[in-house]
């Protein structure tokens, strides 16, 4: 007994240090998303080295593979959905106008003025500049730079974002922008004030650009007001998706984008 006490007197600080660090480690890994991912990643990495003895960790690896295949499948379904909205015919897989490429989000900022998203697919997978990025519902951003394996996209939560949108039954083009209004809200401007809109109306993309297809749901109208002397509404839109919480992004490859841009540029000359 005396020895135990002596032992504790001598090493008490060290024991409590180790004990509390263990608690901290458990807290960190369980309550912080980024840390958890790194932990799972490196632990699965090491378990590979030890020949997959630990079943629990290796199941995490297969979990990721399943996840990847599921998101690919999902991309395919969304492809069909977007493309059949207007024309209901039998679909030939190669003739689709919009192709979706699923990619995991590896970096996502949302507290800054100009936020960005990084995806883990790039040129090799067919991603090019100025393609749109969406999540299962709602928008995420627009591709800015592409390397071989990675894509850097401007998040919709960026002061430079301008997306052409409209309020559902109408076709009046409005401009959707983000004015540092929090991760769940954006501002839709340039909708003329004679249009009868109401709170709760759906805001959708109008497909005027080559980036996003028509009729993607962006969010709903939370409030709107008219500035004095202005002829337009200032509409606060509540986004349908939570950009902060997105794990997978779908890059939209519009096969006719080049053609549309070319013909529009002809007009300008």
């Amino acid at each position: 007994m005396q020895n135990v006490l002596l032992f504790f007197v001598r090493f008490g600080a060290f024991i409590s240090f180790i004990f509390l660090q263990l608690i901290c480690f458990l807290l960190i890994v369980n309550f912080n998303k980024g840390h958890k991912e790194i932990f799972l990643h490196s632990s699965s990495f090491y378990s590979n080295i030890i020949d997959g003895r630990f079943n629990q960790w290796t199941s995490y690896i297969s979990l990721q593979e399943t996840n990847d295949s599921l998101s690919n499948h999902n991309a395919h379904l969304m492809e069909l959905f977007i493309n059949t909205k207007d024309v209901v015919t039998t679909i030939d897989n190669d003739s689709l106008q919009y192709k979706l490429i699923s990619a995991r989000i590896v970096k996502n900022t949302f507290q800054l003025h100009n936020n960005h998203i990084s995806l883990d697919k790039g040129k090799i997978d067919g991603i090019k500049k100025d393609m749109g990025v969406i999540s299962e519902v709602g928008l995420l951003g627009i591709v800015k730079n592409v390397s071989d394996h990675y894509t850097h996209a401007v998040s919709i939560l960026n002061s430079q974002t301008k997306i052409s949108c409209t309020v559902r039954p109408f076709a009046y083009p409005g401009s959707l922008s983000w004015q540092n209004s929090g991760a769940r809200h954006m501002v839709l401007s340039a909708i003329p004030k004679h249009v009868k809109i109401s709170i709760g109306d759906t805001v959708v993309t109008n497909g005027y650009s080559t980036i996003f297809p028509k009729d993607l749901i962006v969010g709903t109208i939370e409030t709107f007001s008219i500035n004095k002397g202005s002829s337009d509404y200032k509409i606060i839109v509540k986004l349908i998706n939570d950009v902060q919480n997105s794990k997978v992004g779908y890059v939209i490859n519009n096969r006719l984008a080049k053609e549309q841009k070319m013909i529009e540029n002809l007009e300008n000359e």
């Binding site: 008490g12 600080a13 060290f14 024991i15 409590s16 240090f17 509390l20 660090q21 608690i23 901290c24 480690f25 458990l26 807290l27 960190i28 890994v29 369980n30 309550f31 912080n32 980024g34 840390h35 790194i38 932990f39 490196s42 800054l112």
Partner: protein, 173 residues
């Protein structure tokens, strides 16, 4: 004896609250340069009485770190760094012990020791705290550059604030 206890309790809450209500919100960024963070609550650990039992100090370090974590939404990160700092405090105190031993029964303040001693003592512990904190925050040495930059610049900024606090309030025990 009582005044030492109450002084430390007050210090706990004042430092933790100023950390989470004021210093958490200060952010200096110039484009990609966002390495300055003000972290002053370790001062609480630095100023605990010298003769206090070390496991208790480590536990108090855990408490203040946990408290700060709740507001930083990073459960465990600050606590881990504080526990580390509190543990290292014992070794730093042994290392810096004057030849005749510590005369004071109170805290290792500037008043009780002297300013040179305190600057060495404080810099070692604050530097260790920040290095450990940013390492745990990144959680992977892939971000080595960020960790080092964060540590260096936050150390300069935080130690300035710590010295200001000490010069203004002049804590005695």
């Amino acid at each position: 004896m009582n005044s030492i206890v109450s002084a430390n309790i007050i210090r706990f809450f004042l430092l933790a609250l100023t950390q989470v209500l004021i210093f958490k919100r200060i952010a200096f960024t110039w484009g990609d340069f966002a390495f300055i963070h003000f972290i002053v609550y370790p001062l609480f650990i630095l100023l605990l009485p010298i003769k206090m039992s070390r496991p208790l100090i480590i536990f108090l370090g855990f408490l203040i770190g946990f408290f700060v974590d709740i507001f930083y939404d990073s459960l465990g990160v600050h606590a881990s760094a504080s526990v580390f700092t509190a543990y290292m405090r014992g070794h730093v105190l042994d290392f810096l012990e004057p030849r005749e031993g510590y005369k004071t029964k109170g805290s290792p303040t500037i008043e009780n020791m002297n300013i040179n001693w305190f600057i060495i003592y404080g810099s070692i512990l604050l530097g260790l705290h920040l290095l450990f904190y940013f390492s745990v925050e990144a959680f992977s040495f892939v971000f080595f550059f960020e960790i080092i930059m964060n540590t260096i610049f936050s150390f300069l900024a935080s130690s300035m604030i710590v010295i200001l606090i000490l010069l203004i309030f002049r804590p005695k025990n």
